[in-house]
């Protein structure tokens, strides 16, 4: 393991490239140690890592690059697909790509799937099965359609979903299908009659192998310095129905935030009181949990700045190893020196075992004295393609990104953009809301598909997603 780490570092040093990110660490919490080198070049991101976890050597290698507007990855990649409370995580060793347009995002993968190992310093896939699938999100008129199809070993996923948002007032969501071999149906509604009020209700059903259903309804009222929230939850599994209610209130006065919540389920009731004080870089928390006529206290504090963050949490927990209530202390330290970040933390499990994690991250500029690739542009090309980007009201949009042929142009304060062209032939034009320098979410309303020099271009965009 040690020799692999040194070999990785030595081999990385003389490489001729731009920026190398190095991560290395060990942890009894993740039960893994290892190191990863990530090379960022103008056209691709290459990752290689080696580690040791649960008695096995783990290897990670991937190359990600842009190909005709799609992000293509060969090697290890971990996916997380989620919509309407439905989530599927997959670790894949193979080929994957993501292509995004203004209205549609498509992600597809094929290769070997298996258990994913994810730590801050190495991620890897332990290939176990063959798998393939795709995830599509399509937006139209305030609605989003989701379609997830995946085969992970012998488990099949075929899930469909839809969400609809009517202004800021009403939100609807529904999804159903088969998730990792389990049939399910979810539905949710949220209603926000005023900025401070929110009401929500949801239902979820998992159909087989065992039927489980859940219903919940809740509300929140959050004016400026005060909050009030409550919810009702019901679940049924194997004929057993459990109902729980919670209600809580909070107040913020200057740097002090106080919050109390009551949880009731069956014959059990919990009361938690939490006070947080934030004074510049310092944060202090005090928590009291009251249950069955017994109180448990927890105290914590931390300091956060650009260079350093330290937190110390002290609490009393009921250990399951026969020692009963015990005081435990958790420490987390993060320190930044130049381009290096050092992190260390501890956590105590309910069985009384203290686990730790330590890792470092660094960005190294390598290669020649010139740190990055140099791109030269010359005053060439006698043709000029120019245009203006405006919003629906006709106001110029500054910082809009437009792709003409292979060039990307940004609009100036007057909404104007221009690129030089060597020929008078028409070139493809695409508006790129995802890389707008202007803040916020944008969509293209009207733009020509191709443009030619000398023809005025008028593009209309609007805010929205």
């Amino acid at each position: 393991m040690k020799s692999c780490l040194l070999l990785l570092l030595l081999a990385a040093a003389p490489a001729s490239a731009q920026v190398l990110q190095l991560d290395a660490g060990a942890s009894t919490l993740y039960n893994a140690s290892g190191a990863t080198a990530t090379l960022y070049t103008p056209n691709s991101t290459i990752t290689a890592g080696v580690g040791y976890s649960n008695g096995h050597v783990i290897l990670n290698a991937s190359d990600t690059w842009l190909f005709r507007g799609a992000t293509v990855t060969v090697g290890d990649k971990q996916f997380g697909f989620s919509f309407d409370g439905v989530g599927l995580g997959l670790a894949v060793k193979g080929l994957s790509f993501t292509k995004q347009t203004d209205s549609t995002t498509v992600t597809a993968f094929a290769g070997l799937t298996g258990a994913g190992i994810a730590t801050p310093y190495i991620t890897a896939v332990r290939a176990q099965n063959a798998g393939a699938g795709f995830f599509i999100v399509h937006k139209f008129h305030g609605a989003k359609l989701y379609s997830l199809e995946a085969l992970d070993g012998g488990k099949y996923t075929a899930a469909q979903g839809i969400t609809y948002q009517y202004g800021r007032t009403l939100g609807l969501a529904a999804s159903g299908g088969v998730l990792n071999g389990t049939g399910f149906f979810n539905g949710a509604v949220s209603y926000k009659p005023a900025p401070a009020w929110n009401f929500s209700a949801a239902h979820e059903s998992y159909l087989f192998p065992d039927r489980a259903t859940g219903n919940n309804a809740g509300f929140s009222f959050t004016p400026a310095h005060f909050s009030l929230q409550g919810s009702w939850n019901e679940s049924t599994y194997r004929g057993l129905t459990v109902v729980g209610e919670t209600i809580g209130a909070g107040v913020r006065v200057g740097p002090v935030i106080a919050q109390s919540n009551v949880y009731h389920s069956g014959n059990k009731t919990f009361l938690t009181n939490n006070v947080t004080e934030k004074i510049q870089h310092l944060t202090f928390t005090q928590t009291e949990t009251y249950s069955a006529q017994q109180s448990a206290w927890a105290f914590g504090g931390g300091y956060t700045s650009n260079r350093m963050s330290v937190s110390l949490n002290h609490s009393i927990i009921f250990l399951l190893n026969g020692e009963g209530f015990q005081q435990v202390t958790g420490i987390s330290v993060s320190l930044r020196l130049h381009d290096t970040t050092l992190n260390a933390s501890t956590v105590t499990t309910p069985f009384g075992k203290t686990l730790w994690t330590g890792y470092a991250t660094d960005y190294v500029q390598i290669g020649d004295a010139v740190p990055g690739v140099t791109v030269r542009s010359h005053v060439g090309g006698r043709f000029i393609i120019a245009g203006v980007v405006r919003d629906a009201s006709g106001a110029p949009v500054s910082g809009a990104a437009v792709e003409i042929g292979k060039d990307i142009a940004y609009t100036d304060a007057a909404g104007a953009f221009s690129v030089r062209a060597r020929t008078a032939k028409p070139q493809a034009l695409a508006v790129l809301p995802a890389v707008f320098a202007a803040p916020g979410a944008w969509v293209c309303v009207d733009a020509p598909a191709s443009v030619a020099p000398g023809t005025p271009i008028n593009i209309v965009v609007k805010r929205g997603s």
Binding site: K2, L6, Y40, T340, G372, D412
Partner: protein
């Protein structure tokens, strides 16, 4: 033994520092009648940077620098008016200028915005490339400043 490796790893990482800023060079350029020039912008971040270049004429007096729309007497051909710089990229922009009236002074203001934010403010860093064009290149800037009483 483990501690030795960790110390060696830390020393290796700690001394490999980078530069955190966008840089422009040269900040000032002086030319004679014929001005074919260039300037370099360096993106020292690990994220793409959107760059928009806007030319402005300016004058100087004891109150400072006063920008105005580019004079019609300044004929400027820029290789690019905007660009997207990749991580750590150095981008060289070229230009050709002809001034009907000498001396002429203008500034290419390069506005740079890092990344894209869905919520919040976009922070734009503006670095100027200042161009002085005179009959003769030598002491052009000093002559312009002297004429302004500075």
């Amino acid at each position: 033994m483990k501690i030795k490796y960790l110390i060696a790893l830390y020393i290796f990482l700690a001394f490999a520092s980078g530069i955190f800023a966008q840089t422009m060079s040269p900040a000032v350029a002086e030319y004679g009648k014929k001005a074919n020039g260039s300037f370099k912008l360096q993106n020292n971040t690990l994220q793409p940077v959107a760059v928009v270049i806007e030319p402005f004429s300016f004058s100087v007096d004891k109150d400072g620098q006063h920008f105005r729309k580019l004079d019609a007497t300044v004929h400027l051909d820029l290789s690019q008016t905007s660009a997207r710089l990749g991580p750590k990229e150095i981008h060289e922009f070229s230009y050709k200028v002809k001034c009907d009236v000498l001396p002429c002074t203008f500034s290419l203001l390069t506005g740079m915005i890092i990344g894209h934010t869905q919520d919040g403010l976009a922070v734009r860093v503006i670095l100027p490339h200042v161009v002085y064009i005179c009959e003769k290149q030598k002491d052009c800037r000093a002559g312009v400043l002297r004429a302004a009483g500075l």
